[in-house]
Symmetry: C2
Subunit: 108 residues, 2 copies
DNA sequence: GGATCACGCAACCATTTGGTTGCACCTGCG
DNA sequence: CGCAGGTGCAACCAAATGGTTGCGTGATCC
C-alpha cells in the first residue's frame, strides 16, 4: 500500500481547516458556489481584509481557486486537496488497527 | 443524512494535525504502540517539555489518551476522533459535488 | 534510605496568527 | 470624463504558539 508519500501541503491543509472562520468560508463556497472576498465579508463579522487573508491561507492549501472576472476576483472551492488529508488520516488509522489486531491475536 | 452536527473539537483536531511534529508523534504511537513523553523526545529534535506540550494538544483533540503506569505516563493513540474530521470533509465534499452536478445538468 | 529517573509547573522568549485601519490602484459604467 | 466599487498593499497590534531552561516532587530500584 504505497503509503507515506504525502506531500508538503498537509501542514497547509490541516492548518487551513483548523480555523472555524475558514471552515465556514469553504463550506459557504462549497454549497452556495463561488464568491468574492467582499461578498464573503458581508456574511461574516470580520473585515474584508481579514477575509482576504483567510482566502490566502485556503489558496495556499489548494482548497480554493481564484479567478479574475473584470474588476472582481471570484473564489471557488477546489476540494481535491481534501483527499490528501483524508488519505493521511486513513493511513494512520490503518496502522493503528493493524497494531490492535496484532495485539488481539497475541494476548488472551 | 445526519449531517452538520459536528461538535466543537474540530478546531482542536485539525489544529493538532496541522503541526508536522504532532503528526509524526501520533504516527509513531499508531504503529509502534504507546509511549511516554520522555521516549518520544528521544527520537525528536526537541525537548521533553516541548513534547509534553504537543501531547497536551493531541489530548485536547482526543487523539491520544494518557494512562499512568507507576512513575511514568504512557500515551496511546485514540483515533476515533479522526472520524469526525473525515466526516466533516466528506460532508463539504458532498455539498460541492452536489452543486457541480446541478450545474452540469443545467449548462451545456 | 538514598540515588535516580520521569514527570509537572512556571517563567520567559521569538515568531506566527488573526485582526484592524488607512490609502493607493484599477476597472467598469453612465 | 468622472466617479464608485472592488482589490491590493502596508503598518500596526494583541494574543496564541512552539520552543527553551530551571527547579520541585514522587515513584522505583538497590
Amino acid at each position: 500500500m504505497r503509503s507515506s508519500e504525502f506531500g508538503i501541503p498537509l501542514d497547509a491543509v490541516f492548518g487551513a481547516l483548523a480555523d472555524p472562520t475558514r471552515r465556514t468560508m469553504i463550506r459557504r463556497l462549497a454549497d452556495s458556489g463561488p464568491g468574492t472576498a467582499t461578498e464573503l465579508a458581508r456574511d461574516l463579522p470580520i473585515s474584508r481584509q481579514a477575509v482576504v487573508k483567510h482566502l490566502q491561507a485556503l489558496d495556499a492549501a489548494g482548497l480554493v481557486q481564484a479567478e479574475r472576472v473584470g474588476r472582481e476576483v471570484r473564489f471557488a472551492a477546489t476540494l481535491d486537496t481534501l483527499d490528501d488529508a483524508s488519505a493521511w488520516m486513513a493511513d494512520v488509522g490503518a496502522a493503528w488497527d493493524r497494531r490492535l489486531s496484532r495485539l488481539r491475536r497475541r494476548t488472551r
